[in-house]
Symmetry: C2
Subunit: 641 residues, 2 copies
């Protein structure tokens, strides 16, 4: 591994892409700046200062408020990896200084517990977020270390990890209610080479679902930490803020935190979807590090279940508001979809790990679907407003917000944008995989051979991709043929390459600046959902290339429910540079009900009703809610013959 996460490190890739660069730049210039201001605004930094000063109480924000600082450091560090920025570095150092100073002599640092319930550390593992915050501290530390070679934060993380290692498996046996530390410990292991961190990750993963800690906490509700928070503090969700979630849910079986069964025995994605993604990512890391057929088989089952029975066409997951998570197979309501932005981000984390492990195209396909749709919709075109919740239909009253009490998604989006380069390529298995068609240069080594790759891409608006490769040896390069691609052509220096039906076009040679040109035909496609998805029954969605399209009221005269899209609809594509920072819009030949002959009738024989031709205008799903509010729908009525 080059980076602590994946085979290609952030610093090895420089993105220069017509579609993605504005997002990445906006993330750097607007979002990361804005989030730094929010650290002060929300009291996050003040919590550290109070802890440093040994004060009691006065804690601000959520009990996992510290993680906002850590996620910001992580995103900022990714930016520092790409090039120095003294002003940003200074602010990162300032925040790191606060964290380091707040750390207690035994390595413990968590300002909620330090200020509010210092006597109740490690008493409420399921509902408070001590280990979750520790995980984000570790991730930030690894990112900062990789960006700067400095150990200011890594030392803090190591001390805290050692403290956790001392406490768990010894004083206490238990697992965190919100997974996160597991994948962080694997990263820490990879930069420190200390086996005990990998062992600790394995401990948390393996203990989940068969420890008796949950029962103990339920039996000691009046003694454990967490009195300070009630679920009323949350927006539109019961969340797990207080201990009351135990009571509200009645016989809580642990499934909210994937703790209803040992992970090796699980068959279906369950519970809080962000937690699930972080757990599955860590499980995949463990398989990669240690091999483990049983764990691997569980991952296959979970992925199969999620992607074939519990996933929105946008790649979004977790339909349910109350517990922000998975429900049952085929339960994918559109207007009430939760599909949290963080869950989409978590899915990218997990799927990249699965790709590194297997080099199967389906994981890269899903990353692409999720990036362009379920993830990207979470961020407004201004870089300052975010969706926590990503419905696939709206009556016009769901809008991105500037910040949340529970600000998990915005900093999570920031760290994904800032580290996007990692997801484009892989050197796993001694081969170079070109997974995402995003203009960029790559400088890496594949099996000891230096490779330089220069990609330019017209995706998603057009179909052409050009790649120039140089290497000081023979390197196999695999170009993914996207799942949406109707027909792919490949040439090397203008000469057609005969490639099969495989998911990857494999070209192996001693590269010397050859130009590989690929075209991926992207026909607008009308798709249907499995018949067991009630919400999509008799409905279709329209995709083009990696993008899922949607209808907004602002572009259409009739109420959206009146449009009826034929299965074989004619679709006209037009690129509009002036619209929504430049998008290709689709104009679909559809039917709408004739309004003739109703004259004061509310019901009449169906045989008397008539349709007439019309046109339905669609924009990419990610771009919705950036203009006048109004109805939105991804799934349109169809003739479904």
């Amino acid at each position: 591994m080059t980076g602590a996460q994946y085979s290609v490190a952030i610093g090895e890739v420089e993105i220069d892409d017509e579609f993605w660069s504005p997002w990445v730049t906006r993330n750097r210039d607007v979002t990361i700046e804005y989030q730094y201001e929010q650290l002060e605004e929300s009291g996050t930094l003040e919590n550290f200062r109070r802890a440093i000063d040994g004060k009691e109480g006065g804690f601000q924000g959520m009990w996992f408020q510290d993680s906002d600082a850590y996620k910001w450091i992580e995103a900022a560090s990714y930016e520092l990896t790409k090039g120095d920025d003294p002003d940003l570095r200074e602010r990162v150092d300032e925040v790191i200084g606060l964290v380091a100073d707040a750390q207690e002599p035994d390595g413990y640092v968590n300002t909620y517990f330090q200020l509010v319930e210092p006597e109740k550390k490690w008493t409420n593992l399921h509902m408070l977020h001590e280990l979750y915050c520790a995980g984000h501290l570790i991730e930030a530390a690894v990112a900062h270390y990789e960006a700067t070679d400095e150990t200011t934060l890594l030392d803090v993380a190591v001390d805290f990890a050692d403290h956790v290692d001392d406490v768990f498996g010894d004083e206490i046996d238990g697992v965190p209610g919100h997974e996160e530390i597991e994948l962080a410990l694997v990263k820490l292991y990879r930069v420190t080479d200390e086996d005990r961190y990998l062992d600790l990750a394995q401990y948390f993963v393996d203990l989940r679902g068969h420890d008796d800690r949950l029962e103990w906490e339920l039996a000691h509700l009046s003694e454990i930490a967490g009195d300070e928070f009630s679920s009323d503090d949350w927006e539109g969700s019961i969340h797990d803020g207080s201990k009351t979630v135990f009571l509200e849910e009645g016989e809580y079986d642990g499934s909210y935190a994937q703790a209803h069964a040992p992970v090796r025995d699980q068959d279906a994605a369950d519970g809080h979807s962000v937690r699930a993604m972080y757990l599955y990512a860590a499980m995949t890391d463990l398989v990669a590090e240690r091999g483990d057929d049983e764990l691997r088989a569980a991952l296959d089952r979970l992925w199969e279940n999620m992607t074939t029975k519990q996933m929105y066409v946008t790649g979004g997951i977790g339909p349910e508001h109350e517990h922000e998570g998975f429900t049952e197979d085929y339960d994918l309501p559109n207007d009430t979809a939760y599909a949290e932005t963080c869950a989409a981000i978590g899915s990218v984390f997990w799927n990249q790990r699965l790709f590194e492990l297997t080099r199967e195209a389906k994981y890269a396909d899903l990353i692409e679907r999720t990036l362009y749709n379920g993830f990207l919709a979470g961020v407004g075109l201004d870089g300052k407003r975010f969706f926590y919740v990503n419905p696939l239909a709206s009556s016009g009253n769901h809008h991105r917000k500037g910040w949340f009490t529970c600000a998990c998604c915005p900093p999570n989006a920031a760290r994904l944008f800032a580290s996007l380069g990692q997801y484009l390529y892989s050197t796993s298995g001694g081969e170079l995989s070109v997974n995402q068609y995003i203009g960029s240069t790559l400088e890496t080594t594949v099996d000891g051979i230096d490779v330089t790759l220069d990609q330019s891409s017209a995706i998603p608006w057009d179909e052409g991709v050009s790649v120039v490769i140089e290497a000081n040896g023979t390197v196999p390069v695999n170009f993914r043929v996207p799942e949406w691609c109707a027909e792919a052509t490949v040439t090397i220096d203008g000469e057609p390459v005969d490639h099969g039906e495989s998911d990857y076009v494999r070209l192996e040679r001693a590269w010397d600046g050859e130009l590989v040109e690929l075209t991926f035909a992207q026909e607008p496609t009308v798709v249907a959902a499995h018949p067991d998805v009630e919400a999509d029954a008799g409905r279709v969605a329209v995709e083009r290339g990696p993008l899922v399209y949607t209808a907004e009221a602002v572009d259409n005269d009739r109420p959206l429910h009146q449009y009826r899209v034929p299965d074989d609809a004619d679709v006209k594509e037009t690129h509009d540079t002036a619209l929504l920072n430049g998008v290709t819009v689709l104009s679909v030949d559809v039917a709408v009900p004739s309004l003739d002959g109703w004259d004061g009738e509310l019901y009449r024989p169906a045989t008397e009703t008539d349709n007439e031709p019309s046109s339905l205008e669609l924009i990419p799903y990610y771009a919705w809610d950036n203009r006048e509010p109004g109805d939105m729908q991804v799934w349109h009525r169809s003739d479904n013959d």
Copy 2:
């Protein structure tokens, strides 16, 4: 007028009908008995006893609990009209005795105020129900007087009405938040011939929407009555229990109680739907008594709006839970429909009055639709369980309940069943109208001529109706041709009658026992809703004769959302005497999606999907939720071409 309400009195009609008699008998034998027990169980009678004893506090139930007793007396009195029943009479007298003894010397009687807020009478007209309870007292008194010729309750009602007449327009100017007393005062006027009651009804109707009382009450929230109740006491609705509804709604404009504008200026059915029906009924009474073109024009507009833009196919009205009422044109959600049983009953009250006024068939058509569907579904086949809320789709968790905290619907249903005879015929305009095809005998006078009519009817299961008429003079008889009738045939003593396309077949003669035989062909009909009804877009419902049909999971293998009903579906009819007390079931030739070829896919090109033939089994809507719980839907996916 023969009765205080309509041109035909309850005592003039005796129902003997295969379909309806079991309902009416069950209402008498089960429901009315059960409700009497509930009067004791719920503390309703105890409230009167405490008031008699001059006690303070200890009030039980809702602030309009008294009205339960009044509605029970009214229903029981209707039964006494049909024939004596010493045991029932005794209990009626017992309850009347309590009411009479609880009445204060000035005529006031309302146990909530007497026990709980005696100093705050008439301070909270909009949210408490003093005038509403007074109205039900008056209705009960008129019913009891007409049944027994006794004035024990009528005297109480007259004293209270006189007290109200003294207070209103003099000490206080204002209107009730819940209409009811207006139509009751018209009844009182009709049995007493005292103009002042009609004047008082007119006063309340005309003042609505332009008094400043609402503003005054809003400005004096801390002083007016109503501290005892919070909206938490209610099931699934904010209701108007407390004063907080003012605050919760923010700038309350009075529309909840149809007080947002003078009634003469209103164009659309608005607010709480039961209130609206009671108001419109009273307006119709006033037009009938005094003629009033302006008021009449408003009624036409309101009826037109309700029936062509705000009514479920079942005749149900008021889609919204929060305020139990009307919303906007074409807003008719199925699964979240409120469609309160009481609102359907109120619609029957209003439409019968409109018929009496105009003799237009459309009003009798709507009464039929409402009786067989929106109303009848409100009562379980056991006569002891009731729907307050009547959705047109359910995921299997909506069930009839034995009783409610707010027990408005069960006693309202009881009084409608007990007085059903009034709605079958009309002698308005000196003509005999045969409106509902329900087996019965009628003995009445039409313009001074004695008429006896004997009807037997196979509706709704079969198409034949036989009527034998005798009269001691020439009487025009109008037989309604139901809106659903594909083709009607009429014979007199076997001789075909040539009748036109009119809504009524008019036969005028000196009747001497002629047998009129009518057949009303009832083809199952697939109906669509107006394109602006989003909830029904791409959907159809199936009707047969007066009945709307529905699908229940218990009769169908596939999830209901998978069935697709063609506009011109073939429908097979089978009468099943063993099912649901005997119903004609429909078997519809439909398509369902093929489950082939999905193999682990969640989304695929719509052109690759396929349908296969199947059959959808339907039962009458009124009979749903009388077997195993499961999904239910009235509106099925269609091919809507």
